[in-house]
Each structure stands twice: as structure tokens, then as C-alpha cells.
């Protein structure tokens, strides 16, 4: 598949033909801040090389075709010089910032570029953590071809309070512009308030609906930490007094933001257990919005049986793997997971294909609406991409509800099957980003990823399925969550096709 990247020099001729061929002739250098599946994937990719530690000077590997690399980058650099600020004027500065040490050079010094590259900033692909990005983004300068995980202000979607705020805003705007009926399509998140800022509105709402159960979540914490359920206002006043305040950060002066949410009391149960579905979504651009959806994922089952009698029992109610692990009879071998394929099969056996299609279409809607709600807010950057993990819950009418969105979904595998899933997921993610430049850029499917949205919905068929009679299939969206995922075969066909297109 990737002969080109294995053999430096082989791609030389081809590289000149590519508009993006900046790394066409050498290995792809990557950095990775995690130690789990993603690192395995990166290490396993032919032609990719890990950037060695911070103080190592990267040997000059770019000599094979310095001219081309220089040409490609200079214009870009000039344009960015002002933006990247004063930190980037002296050559060879080893500032504390990773990535910011890459120095722009004058237009006349093309051939000298590679030698001056500092090892630390010299990457093409960086799977960084959010903290690192937050610290460095503003002072960072990126070459055209460089790709980095996360957008600058990804928290707009992943912090629970901001997500709800954004969704509410887009909902209001939609209602204003297109009428109440359109606003209905936003009914996929339960009534939610931010605490402490919206405490009074919440109390009002609380008193309107006595007896219902509310769930309280810290806005910024992940993996189910700090979550509890309550039914009486007294519980929450206790909590306000500090009984529930986490002990972990006593120095914090500002009270932690929480969201309080109406608890979904009729979740869909399988075998008496509650579950949520993890859906992987890849955003490669916010403007225009370009979204990919991964076919596979999993349903996480709660370890114990669901009943509303014991709302103190957190284990039943939360399906986060992280929480489940603390349950007394947790069996790590079991994992309590089903693949999304398995879930889809189960649901279509019980409710028929149509009902399941409708339910999964609801998930597509959730994804698109939530991303649109932040489309104007997220600082778009063509270097950035983001893989979200959506947590979706079905209620007993098979209506999907958005629980939360994670910007760093867990990539640590809980077992062989899980490892295979995540390995394929990440590998295909790299295939979509296509740093090797092997694709045409017009693909609607790459491995297990299907292009769900590109400035508008993508349909499964435009022109390539001639046998479709009388246009019945014309409205099928290009979304195959929980469908058969024979990614390897698809990739083989894809690359063969792309190669022949490029040749001709």
C-alpha cells in the first residue's frame, strides 16, 4: 500500500506532481504524547518515524529534495512570520515551547532549511494532549503540511456547560429563522442548567416538576468522576454547603462549575441493563464543516440491573467504563461491551430495520447539530483535526440522547477486540488525513470512516450506483454506523483506484 513512503526517493518524481507533496520524498515524522494504541498505530505505519526526544538534533533527512521543500514552505512562512511573533526570530533558539522553535528563514536560504530544523519542533504529525496545545498554540507556527490533534478551543463542545450553551443558542437561532418545527430537531439533550450561574432558573424548573430525578455532573471532569443523582432539593443544598465538594482541589477558590441535567428515566434496556453508545467522529475542518463518522464503536453496559429505586447506586446509572471499573464485582475480562454492529443487529432483530435506521439517523442529527452549534466559535485551522467520542443513550422509544462529547476519547484498549477496534479506528484516521498523499481527496469512504458532512449532507450514492431504480435510494445519507466494517478490503480497493486515477 505504502511503498512510496517506505523507500525515500521512490516518490521523488511523483512528489513534484503533487500540490501537497512536501513530504512525498521522505519519512513522516510524528510525535505522540500518549503511550497506548495510538503509539502502536503510529509506530506500525510504514514510512513513519518518531521524532526523538527533546534535545536531540534531527539529522538532516530532507536533503534528498531540499529545493521542493523549501519552495513549498517559504511563502507560508513569510506570511506567518508576523503572526508567530517575536519568539521566532533568532535561529536555533531552544525556547521551552515545543514546536515554536521552528524558525522562518529568509526567502534566499532555501537549501539551508533542513539543517536548521530543531529536533523538537520537527514533526509532521503531532498527537498532542489538550494541555500542551492550550499552552503552545498561540506561539506556534505550523507549516502547511503539519497536522496536529485538537482545535484551539475544543472545550466549547466538550465542556458540558458550554456544549449546552452552544446548543441552546443554535436552537434559538434556528427557531427564529426557520420556525418552531425546525427547532424540534434539537430535542436531543435533556433539560440542562449550569451551576452555580443558573441556579435560580434551575430551582424554578425543579419546583415545576416535582419528583423527577436530576443528575449533577462537574462540567470539566471526565470519566464519570464527581457525578451524582438526586431527587430532592435538600440533597443539592447539602452539596452546596460543601459536603460533595471534591477533596482533590481544596485550594481552588472559584466554585467548580457543574451542570444539572434532567435524568433520562426510561433508558432502553437490554437484558435489564442500561447502556450508552460510543460513536467516533472526526472533524478535519470547521470551515467548511467536514465530518467523518466511524462505522464501528461500542455499547457500554452498566454492570448491574437498572432500576430507579436505588438512585444512590451510581454504578447502575453511569455506563462510563472508568466508573464501572470500581464496581465490586467488575470482571475486566468481560468488559461489558458490545460492538455497535452487535447492537445494531440486536435492535433490528427486535424492532425491524426501519426503526433502527431512524434511530441511527437521529445520531447523525446529533452529530451535525452539535458541531454546527460551535462552527462559528471554534477557531478553524487547517492544521488541526479532532476526533470526538460521542456518548449517546437510547431511551425506550429508541430515541437517541446526547450525553456528552469527549475530545480525547480513551484509546487504551480493554481487551483484544477493543484493541482491534481502536487500532483500525486510528489507522483509518491517519488514512483519512492522508499525510502520505495517496488519495484523491474526493473519497466518501476511507476504511471505516464515512464522510457524513461536507458543507452539507453527503449522500451514499451519487452516480456510482447505476442500478438504483427510480431514485429510491437518492436520499440515503452516507452514514453507516454499526454497519459491516470490512475496512481492509475497502482500503485495498480505494488505494488501487486512487493510484490509477492519479496516474491517468
Amino acid at each position: 500500500m505504502s511503498k512510496g513512503t517506505k523507500v525515500p526517493g521512490y516518490m521523488q518524481g511523483k512528489g513534484s506532481r503533487n500540490p501537497r507533496g512536501i513530504i512525498g520524498d521522505r519519512e513522516i515524522r510524528y510525535k505522540c504524547s500518549l503511550q497506548n494504541t495510538i503509539l502502536d498505530v503510529l509506530r506500525g505505519r510504514p514510512g513513519w518515524q518518531e521524532v526523538p526526544g527533546q534535545n536531540n538534533i534531527q539529522p538532516n533527512v530532507n536533503q534528498a529534495n531540499p529545493k521542493q521543500a523549501g519552495q513549498q514552505s517559504t511563502g507560508q512562512q513569510q506570511a506567518n512570520t508576523g503572526k508567530s511573533g517575536s519568539g521566532s526570530t533568532t535561529q536555533g533558539t531552544t525556547s521551552g515551547y515545543k514546536g515554536s522553535v521552528r524558525n522562518p528563514q529568509g526567502p534566499g536560504t532555501q537549501s539551508a532549511v533542513p539543517t536548521r530544523l530543531q529536533g523538537d519542533g520537527d514533526w509532521d504529525f503531532y498527537w498532542c494532549d489538550r494541555e500542551w496545545l492550550a499552552q503552545n498554540y498561540d506561539t506556534m507556527f505550523l507549516y502547511e503540511h503539519q497536522k496536529i490533534l485538537h482545535f484551539r478551543n475544543h472545550y466549547e463542545l466538550t465542556r458540558k456547560n458550554l456544549m449546552v450553551k452552544n446548543l441552546k443558542r443554535l436552537k434559538k437561532q434556528t427557531e427564529r429563522e426557520l420556525g418552531k418545527a425546525e427547532g424540534q430537531s434539537f430535542e436531543f439533550f435533556p433539560t440542562t442548567y449550569e451551576l452555580p450561574s443558573e441556579y435560580h432558573i434551575f430551582v424554578e424548573e425543579f419546583k415545576k416538576n416535582p419528583g423527577i430525578i436530576w443528575i449533577m455532573k462537574p462540567a470539566a471532569r471526565a470519566q464519570g468522576r464527581g457525578i451524582f443523582l438526586f431527587r430532592r432539593l435538600k440533597d443539592i443544598t447539602d452539596w452546596k454547603k460543601g459536603e460533595y465538594q471534591p477533596l482533590s482541589d481544596p485550594n481552588r477558590e472559584v466554585p467548580e462549575t457543574y451542570v444539572v441535567q434532567r435524568y433520562i428515566e426510561n433508558p432502553y434496556l437490554i437484558g435489564g441493563r442500561k447502556f450508552d453508545v460510543r460513536v467516533y467522529v472526526l472533524v478535519v475542518s470547521y470551515n467548511p464543516l467536514k465530518v467523518w463518522l466511524y462505522r464501528s464503536g461500542f455499547a457500554r453496559f452498566s454492570n448491574t440491573r437498572f432500576s430507579l429505586d436505588s438512585i444512590e447506586d451510581t454504578y447502575v446509572h453511569l455506563t462510563n467504563v472508568a466508573i464501572q471499573k470500581n464496581a465490586p464485582d467488575y470482571d475486566p475480562d468481560k468488559g461489558c461491551k458490545w460492538s455497535t454492529q452487535q447492537l445494531r443487529k440486536y435492535l433490528s432483530a427486535k424492532h425491524g430495520v426501519e426503526a433502527v435506521k431512524k434511530a441511527f439517523k437521529g445520531i447523525d442529527n446529533i452529530i451535525i447539530k452539535s458541531l454546527q452549534s460551535v462552527q462559528k466559535i471554534i477557531i478553524n485551522d487547517k492544521h488541526c483535526f479532532e476526533m470526538y467520542g460521542y456518548d449517546v443513550l437510547f431511551d425506550s422509544d429508541l430515541k437517541p440522547w446526547l450525553i456528552e462529547i469527549n475530545a480525547s476519547p480513551s484509546l487504551t484498549a480493554s481487551g483484544k477486540e477493543d484493541y482491534d477496534l481502536k487500532f483500525g479506528l486510528l489507522n483509518d484516521l491517519l488514512n483519512v488525513l492522508d499525510l502520505e498523499n495517496r488519495l484523491t481527496g474526493k473519497e466518501k469512504r476511507v476504511g471505516g470512516w464515512d464522510l457524513l458532512w461536507e458543507d452539507g449532507p453527503i449522500l451514499a450514492d451519487d452516480g456510482n450506483m447505476e442500478c438504483a431504480p427510480n431514485g429510491t435510494t437518492a436520499s440515503i445519507p452516507n452514514s453507516f454506523l454499526g454497519c459491516h466494517n470490512e475496512r481492509k478490503r475497502q482500503l485495498r480497493e480505494l488505494y488501487t483506484a486512487a493510484q490509477s486515477i492519479k496516474k491517468s
Partner: protein, 527 residues
Amino acid sequence: MGDSNYSKAYIQALIDELKTSKIYTDLQCAAQVDLAKPTLRLSELKKGVLNGLVNSGWDRKLRNAIYRFLQTNPKLQAPTPPPEHLKEPLVYLRKAQQSWEKRILKSLNSMCTELNIPLARKRPEKDQKEWAQKWTELGIDGPDLSQIRPVYAPKDFLEVIIGLQNPNYHGSDTPGFYHLWGIVQVPLKVKDIDELRLQYSDMSINQCQSGIDDAQDIPSELFEQERVKLGKKVISANHGPLAQEFSKKGCPTSMRATLWCQILAIEVDEIDILYYEQLKTNVLQHELLVDSLLYKDVKLTATNDDQYFVFEDFLYQVLLPFSRDTHVLKHFDYNSASPPKSYIRGRLGMEEFAVNYPPNGVIPFHGFAMYVAPMCFLFKETITLYYVFREMYIRYFFRLHSISSHPQGIVGLSLLFESLLQTHEPDLFFHLKSVGCHPLKVAFKWLVRAFSGYLSSDQVLLLWDRILAYNSMEILAGRFGGFNNITSHSIDPVKSLLQMKAPCFVHGAQRTKRPGAGSSQREAFCQ
């Protein structure tokens, strides 16, 4: 029913059966309703009532009931065969089954004495209440099972089957001409590939199958839509034989539950619900040693299975009442096995104090729960699940763990498997035999469990579709030996299974591969 194929006694038996069943009274009621209609003319009384019954759908129901009887009751050969012939005509197999049962019982009894637990005891009032409360979540804290071990596993059973000998077949000890190649040494007539090909002609490669030709990447217009349309028609007809014929090409996932119910003539009504509740009460009142065996089995198999762990509670809700269900005893009329007897304390050996133990006469073995597990994907209500499982068991599954000469019994299936492999993959068979890895030793446990737990659940269900559709379990053995070249490949479990479960098996096969020389078949077989 005036067909001369059926003897008078058989028809009499059918009529007797019908008279005692619920449909008889139902029909009577329906007829009375029709009678009371003002439009009915006295002169055309009979015709009018008959028409009325046909119009109200009772005619179909009666047909279904008769069909069910025909399927479950073997046609009598001789006018009145002795009952033990109905169970098993061959004396030596009958004896072998009896001694096998004795072994099971001995093992069960010794476990009882060793652990000092009674076979059955009444639950204290408090426990009963507690059980009633946690009925839908029995998996949370089950009894202490550390001491309990399964009574037997398929492996033990295979040893017994290997040991079977026909005393009339050959007297000499020297392995001579008549010695069979395989490890099963019972000479039974099994079908050859041509007969199977005819029987399963609907599955030949040129016929589209549900579960293959409706895969996601094949446009649904080609096959799936038509199939679903036809399926809807079949379902609305509510006629067993029709559903059966339809299922020969596999059931569409969302219709499977209904189709199966129609084939098995199961319509859960109030009486059935009441009956199940009664069984449940029995479970709550008494505790049996068998419960622990079932518990242990579920924990060992289904709970550890990625696909089935979710259904743990369902399994208890089906298996525990099943062990109390005396309706199951009926199948011992045609099962070579006999229900074990237990005696009330102190009255050992006195026939009038004998009771069947467990009440349904079936002692579970390691993997028993897997007969139920795939069906959990089909039925949401435990009660329907229960009745479908019960019917499947008394029609088919019991044959997979009792010794008999029936062509669908486990002995026959093992033999069929071996003979197909010998005839169509002789190199492979010989090689495996010579390296000491006998194919049946690998495949036997798959056969005993009807592949449940060894194939993914959707594959198992597609396979079981065929069991129901052809009313035969020969497909289980046929799935291996050379048979796959007449059927489509995607529901062909052999390749993947051999790869997964028996690396040496596949490895061996590859070593025997000679270039050229008709190895294509074998490649298909072991890739």
C-alpha cells in the same frame, strides 16, 4: 387427512391429541359463534359454519396444529411397535444410553454426598420472598458455586460415543475390512453428498440467501427488498409450512422471531402465561441441585461470552422454569434417553414413591445454556423465549446429547461428518488422522452445542433457520465435510472456526497441500 400414507392408528392418535388440546374447544366456540349468526340458513348449516371458520382464520390454525403434530410425531412403521422401539430400535445403543445415564447419575449423586447438599429442598419463606423480588436480576448474586462442577462436558460424551460397538457387526478383534475409518465405529446409514445436495437444493450456490445476499454493500434492490416483501406476505398468511419453506433461504433478521414462532406453532396465550407463572412459582418454592448446575453453566459459558453476557438474567428465567416443566417429559417417548428417577427420602427403590429428577428429566451438561443464548437476540419477552426454546429442545436439541441410531442423533451426525470428510477431503482426513488430531475430536463440541458460542450469534441463527426450515439437523454435520461447495460461503463457519479453535488442524491441512492435484476444494475448506 384421508391420505392412505397414514395408518388408522396414527390418525386416531392425531385426533385424540387434537381433542385434548386447546384448539378443540376454541374451534367449538368459534363454530358456535358462527352458528348464532342470523345470516346462516338452516339448510346450509354445515357449509355455512365451515365457511365461517375459514373466514375467521380458524382453518389455518387447525392446519398449523395438525402440521405441528405431523412434525413432532414420527410416522409409525409397524402397526404397534413396542414403546422402547420408538425410543431406540437398536438394543445395543439402548443399553449404551442406559449405562451412560447411570454414569451421569452416579456423578450427580457423588457430588451430592460430597458437598452434602440435597437434590431438592423447600426454600424457607424468607428466601422465597427474596427470590420473587430478584427474579429479573438473578445474576447479581447467585449461590456459592465454587464447589459445583458440571456433570459432564461434550468431551466425556465423545469418549462414550467412540467406545460404542455393534456386537453383530464384526466379531474379530483384528481391525479388518469392516473396520470404519473414523473414530465412530457404529455402522449407521448416513446420507451421501448427493442426497444432501438434493435435500438442501434451496441452499445451492445459485440461490440467493438472506444473510449473504442482503449484505450492506450489495444494493438492496437486487434481493433484499423482494425478500422482505415476500416475507411480509408469508407472515401475514400465518401458516407453518409456508414459513418453513420461506426460511430455507434464511430469515431476514427482523422477521426471524415471527417466522420461528409460526414454524414451531407457538402462540403464547393466557394459558401459556399462567403455566409459565406456575413454573416460576415452583422455582421459587423449591431449590434443586440442578439450579446450581444451571447457574454454574451460565456463569461458565454465556456470562463469559462477549455476545451473550447481557442476557445472563434471561437465561436463568428460562432455564430454571425449564427444569420444572413436566411437559418436557413427553419427548422421552421418542428420545432414547429416559428421565432419571429419584425417590422420596427413605423409600428408595419403591416405585410408587419415585419422582422424576429433575422434574423435566433433563440433566444439564457443560454448555447447555448455549442452546438458549442465541435466541435471546430474538425475543424480548421471556415467555415467548421460553416456549420457543422448549419447543426447539423437544424437537431437535435433545438429540445432540443422547445416544441413538436416529439419523439426526449425535451418533449419526458424527458419522455423517466423518464420512463426508472422508469422501470429499480424503487427504485432509488421512493427514489429520495420522498426526493424531482427529477432526471429530475438534468438531464434536461444536456439534453438541449446535455451534452456539463457537460462531457469532447471527451465524448461529442463520444456521438454526435451516434446522427449522428443513426440520433436520443434518446441516450441522454438513457444514463441514465438503458440503460447503454446494452452499454459499459466507455462512460457512468451517474456515474461520478451524482457524480460530484448532490451529494445528489448519496447519496440518496446509502441509498436506500438494501443488495442483485438486487442492482447490481443500483450500476452500481450510483457508
